[in-house]
């Protein structure tokens, strides 16, 4: 079995597409679609990499990421942030929250694949 990736995103068709091409790339893909219990999902799935949307029902991706980074277990987990907002201040917010990479929507499958591979190898 390959490495484990958890995708936290509320748009079901985006989840389905990401799940499809990452599975084909050899990843074991888990998905979750809300912010309320996102931290529990991370603990349960224990991923090697996290793909995290910013605007989620219940809690923002930044909030979740800040809490994750505060835990020693997840302090170094590679996290790829997905957001529809790509202004400098959004990038700064992502960096301040502890993001490893930042990607704006709409992205291509190749963008995600490359980012995930690079993060896994880092």
């Amino acid at each position: 079995m390959g490495k484990r990736v958890l995708v936290i995103e509320d748009e079901p068709n985006i989840i389905e597409a990401i799940k499809f091409f990452l599975s084909r790339d050899g990843w074991e893909v888990f998905t979750h679609s809300n912010g309320h219990d996102a931290l529990e999902a991370v603990d349960r799935r224990a991923p090697d990499l996290l793909i995290l949307d910013v605007m989620l029902p219940g809690r923002s991706g930044y909030e979740i990421l800040r809490e994750l980074r505060a835990q020693e277990r997840w302090a170094k987990l590679p996290v790829l942030i997905l957001t529809a907002r790509g202004q400098t201040k959004d990038r700064e917010m992502a960096a301040a929250a502890g993001a490893s990479r930042f990607m704006t929507k709409p992205f291509s499958n190749t963008d995600i694949l490359e980012a995930v591979r690079e993060l896994a190898e880092a």
């Binding site: 748009e11 389905e16 597409a17 499958n109 190749t110």
Partner: protein
């Protein structure tokens, strides 16, 4: 160089634009080429029949050769120069520039106007994206759908072999997302259309002012107590942005507070008995003078008080509320004239200030102004007091009051940019109006 001494330059510009040789024009006009050369270099004055003849050959009105650039063009160039004072454009040679290079001058003026319009649009759009949660959510939703379509289409186009059940599922997803995108984009266009039907790309400030104007600055339902501030704001279809609703809540809360201090029926009785007397009104109701000025402005039409304008600013001089009069406009952007008694009041808190002022319009109009600055929002030890100044103004129908005080009118403007007063000690920036306008 004065404008009328550039006739020769304009003749040369026009001739070269028509690709006429100097000799050809001279021959057609019945003069020597060397004489035309002197004219074109502004070394000989031209007028009368010769001017008419050359204008006819060059297919322009004689006035275009004599008067040169329009006043509007000069004013637009001044405005362009005022926008970048650091570049030190040669304002003393503006006529010469516009006269010698009318095409470049028009291009520069037009570019400046376009930059202004674009900056304004960007500002408004940024404002809207920041303060309009509905718009932000709609755009986020659309981008998510586009992402989904792009990702799914990428899989179908770029993956060699896909199991039939996956392929069918992705086709269904694309179809579903495309329908969603069509619906959300149509809804967004409808929303933007409805929000912009009154004024294209309005800002929160413009929305608030349009709402106040719509209601003639008077809210009887608040005065009678039949509706609350929240009910008025939430029930308004024209306040579409969160920022404009917040601003209107703040203003209407002030309005409600002043209604409590000076209720409508006793106010009407007072005005019927004593007429327009802000100080006596404040005293009669044991209310701050600022509240009395505000109440008079809100009840002006009903109480038959004639036109009354009102402006409120905070301690930084930022205008918080504007109720203009036709002949006393208030600046929508940028700072107001520093000579307004409103700002004098800020320097003397709690001191009522009466001033007769004269606006710098073509026909100078006089206004009576009543100003006061007072603390607002309660006072606590250790806190910095929040001061707001209020100025009520009305056309000076009779100068009896001014006569009593023996005051000469204070010359004021609206804001420096659109004030043509020369030699004003309070000027902060150049005027965009040509001198003498």
């Amino acid at each position: 160089m004065a404008r009328d001494t550039l006739t020769g330059t304009r003749i040369r510009e026009r001739r070269t634009a028509l690709r006429l040789k100097q000799a050809e024009l001279a021959e057609a006009a019945g003069i020597s080429a060397s004489y035309l050369n002197l004219i074109e270099h502004n070394r000989r004055r031209i007028g009368g029949k010769l001017l008419l003849s050359i204008a006819r050959i060059l297919e322009v009105e004689p006035s275009a050769l004599v008067e040169g650039a329009e006043v509007a063009l000069i004013a637009a160039l001044r405005e362009a120069a005022a926008a970048r004072p650091d570049l030190k454009a040669e304002l003393d040679r503006i006529d010469e520039f516009a006269g010698r290079f009318p095409g470049w001058a028009a291009l520069l003026a037009d570019s400046r106007k376009r930059i202004d319009a674009l900056e304004r649009t960007v500002e408004t759009l940024t404002d809207r994206l920041t303060h309009d949660p509905h718009l932000a959510a709609s755009l986020h939703d659309m981008l998510s759908t586009v992402t989904s379509i792009r990702s799914t289409a990428g899989i179908l186009a770029e993956t060699g072999e896909i199991e039939p059940e996956w392929r069918d599922r992705f086709h269904r997803n694309i179809n579903e997302d495309a329908r969603r995108l069509a619906e959300s984009s149509t809804a967004l266009v409808r929303y933007l259309d409805s929000a912009d039907s009154e004024a294209n790309l309005t800002s929160p400030q413009e929305e608030v002012e349009a709402f106040l104007e719509e209601n003639a600055y008077h809210f009887p339902v608040l005065e009678e107590g039949s509706r609350t501030v929240d009910e008025i704001v939430d029930g308004s279809a024209s306040l579409t942005m969160a920022a404009s609703r917040d601003a209107m809540r703040r203003y209407l809360s002030r309005y409600a507070r002043d209604v409590t201090r000076i209720p409508p029926a006793p106010l009407r009785d007072f005005v019927a008995a004593q007429g327009f007397d802000p100080a006596a009104l404040a005293q009669a109701f044991d209310a701050p003078l600022g509240s009395a000025l505000h109440r008079l402005a809100t009840l002006q039409a009903e109480a038959g008080l004639g036109p009354l304008g009102l402006v409120i600013c905070d301690a930084s001089g930022t205008l918080l509320f504007r109720k203009p009069l036709d002949e006393f406009p208030l600046p929508r952007f940028g700072a107001a004239c520093a000579l307004w008694p409103l700002f004098t009041a800020l320097t003397r808190p709690a001191q009522p200030i009466y001033r007769l002022v004269e606006q710098s319009a073509r026909e100078a109009r006089r206004f009576e102004t009543f100003s006061v600055a007072e603390p607002t929002g309660g006072m606590r030890f250790g806190d910095v007091a929040r001061i707001e100044a209020v100025m009520l103004f009305r056309p000076s129908f009779d100068s009896q009051r001014a006569g009593q005080t023996g005051q000469a009118p204070v010359p004021i403007g609206v804001s420096c940019r659109i004030c043509a007063r020369t030699g004003c000690s309070a000027r902060r920036e150049p005027s965009v109006l040509a001198e003498g306008l």
